[in-house]
Symmetry: C2
Subunit: 399 residues, 2 copies
């Protein structure tokens, strides 16, 4: 059979992370590759209780089809949480539950993108957002980005000179992959530019609750008086990713369209997962749980940054994120991180080369380090080993 | 804000079923509308046990991210089950778990359809398949269909005269909405035509296990020597729909592309749901469970057909399906089922007008009756009431 796939298929490639993750299934591998939470922090005992309660109380309803929009009490909780933390003004009706926030990205492509439309993103940006949007045949323009977010004059210049920009995609808190956080001023300037050019902003915020220091900032959405910002969230990093429950929040007229495309995409999210999370939130203190996660990740961040400072050779720089899961490493320009990965995988240490995070290629001298998933002694062991590999590359001027 | 949605959004409309389902949430409504399984048959106690065991045995792994392809033992089980029942020859590698078989439809659109491509379907066909495919900008051609499936000369004629046919979509077992089942000969003829014109067949089979009488037939896939058939399945009707676990099975080279697009769409299915189903299949006898469902639905089918024969006025015809969840009603041509629905909803009886099941419109004198969800006394009460409404329409020649 001569399979005639859609044109989009030829532009897609397997997620480098997911392919590397297959290698890292071997227990001897020290992986800085995935964006995996620390599994030892999952509230297993609480979830066992919550499951039994949901099935006793809601019975068969918890196992039946439900509405596309999602379980109302959970949407209510999400709206209240965002309003309390992020300065937004959402009601339950502004929230659609999605199958992880990854699905919210896919649905965003479906709602907004025609073939040839343009998405503006940070440089670099989250690689699975690139694949989600690319499936709708869009092009990407990377907006020059510094430690405070997209640079306003550059954003304005690109908006003024680029036809068919439909979406500006940003991750303002502890960005994936760089760990950077947008300043307040930049958030406000972003909304002003989006309003001026009537472009939607998609604000992806899966890590915002994991702040180790400093104050929580208002969301980009908090500056939006006209409904041009959509905010994504997720329980994957504050609860458990295996549940696949995230959300998109925004203007009701837009959320209605998302509901429509979600109907065609998969009807609804897992019913019992929605109810178990809602029950957990009712019975337990999520803040206390998150405080525990934050403390562990903060220590791992500290240890990661300290060990990199000690073990990585001169000429290698990295970020010190205020929260989240990732730090970003830049090598001297002549070193390709994919070559480094080949060597380090031989020594059972994995990470994700940075090139995939740039939709238009280049920047092969970069990589991403996840610090949330490995226990402390393995972080040190892995980074020492990786430091050794990097020193060899620099010493031998390997290409 | 002037929202600039993608072109596809203007072609999509809310699922009539999902909108009607909102009305039917009132407990006094007797609903023949959804395709909802009988909730009283869900194995709640078994699921409670299975959840605890999975969390005790797999622990945090059951709550963590996992592979896009899905839990290997469950894919293994699905392959073996299909091979045993349907005459296929699948291995675990031929199976991708999807978020309900609805997601397999959406991913099929993404893998195969460019804007302007053509999907051939039965007339009528499953309405949420129409929305799933339509999101990729395709056109539909309805192939004239009788009680045995698509009529081969008509299919051949359309294939010969229509450019850009990419998919032939069929539901060969207890079709949604008509309840019809394809004959063996028609299955074989379908594959021959698909091979001749090098077009993919998507065989959707969510109801095949729910056969009340007669023998299980080999799948369309069983006649496919070249990999042109993809088969969809689901646990929604044999276990619980709330889990949202279905699958797509086919040639490895095609499944690889589905894995790729699923990565971008939502990364993976719910981890614990996959493991709970696998554990249930390990500990309990699914065949025994399905036998119970089948017996209940068979009785409801019998009662539905008997009551319609007694209560519906002359000039109204309906199918007597050998399995599944639905029967299909055809009214005299001058009666619009949407008008009937307005009257019957006033009397708290709901069903789905048939027009939505025809992608190119027309056939407004038809509707679908679900017989799986309501207990027997409500089936009788509801159909008597609906019969009364229909008699009034016929008596008064209402339009």
């Amino acid at each position: 059979m001569d399979f005639k796939f859609a044109r989009r298929i030829s532009c897609l490639k397997a997620s480098e992370i997911r392919e590397i993750l297959k290698v890292t299934e071997k227990p001897e591998v020290i992986s800085f590759a995935g964006g995996l939470p620390a599994p030892e922090l999952f509230p297993v005992e609480e979830i066992k209780k919550v499951n039994q309660l949901v099935l006793e109380e809601a019975g068969t309803e918890a196992l039946q089809y439900t509405t596309t929009e999602g379980f109302a009490p959970l949407r209510q909780w999400i709206a209240a949480r965002m309003n309390g933390r992020l300065g937004t003004q959402f009601a339950a009706d502004n929230i659609l539950l999605t199958h992880g926030s990854q699905q919210a990205l896919d649905l965003s492509g479906k709602v907004f993108l025609d073939e040839g439309d343009v998405v503006l993103c940070e440089s670099p940006t989250y690689l699975a957002a690139i694949s989600a949007f690319k499936a709708y045949g869009c092009k990407f323009k990377e907006v020059p980005t510094d430690d405070d977010g997209m640079i306003p004059v550059e954003l304005e210049r690109i908006l003024a000179s680029t036809p068919r920009v439909k979406i500006i995609y940003v991750i303002p808190e502890f960005q994936n992959p760089t760990g950077r956080t947008w300043s307040l001023a930049r958030r406000e300037q972003l909304v002003k530019a989006a309003m001026k050019y009537q472009v939607m902003v998609i604000e992806d915020n899966p890590y915002g609750e994991l702040r180790f220091e400093g104050e929580t900032l208002p969301a980009v959405k908090a500056f939006d008086p006209i409904g041009c910002v959509l905010t994504l969230g997720s329980f994957s990093k504050t609860f458990c990713p295996g549940y696949r429950i995230g959300w998109i929040a925004g203007d009701k007229k837009v959320i209605e369209k998302y509901v429509l495309v979600k109907q065609g995409a998969d009807l609804q999210c897992n019913t019992i997962a929605q109810r178990e999370i809602a029950k957990y939130l009712e019975l337990y203190d999520l803040d206390q749980h998150i405080a525990k996660i934050r403390e562990v990740y903060r220590q791992r961040r500290d240890l990661t940054v300290k060990t990199m400072a000690e073990e990585f050779p001169p000429g290698v720089t990295f970020t010190r994120p205020q929260g989240g899961l990732f730090t970003w490493v830049v090598l001297p320009e002549h070193i390709n991180a994919r070559d480094v990965l080949v060597k380090s995988i031989e020594k059972n240490v994995a990470f994700v080369p940075g090139g995939s995070f740039f939709p238009n290629g280049g920047h092969e001298n970069t990589f991403r380090i996840n610090f949330s998933n490995m226990p402390e002694e393995r972080i040190v062991e892995g980074l020492k080993c990786l430091g050794g590999v990097l020193k060899e590359f620099i010493r031998n001027k390997l290409h």
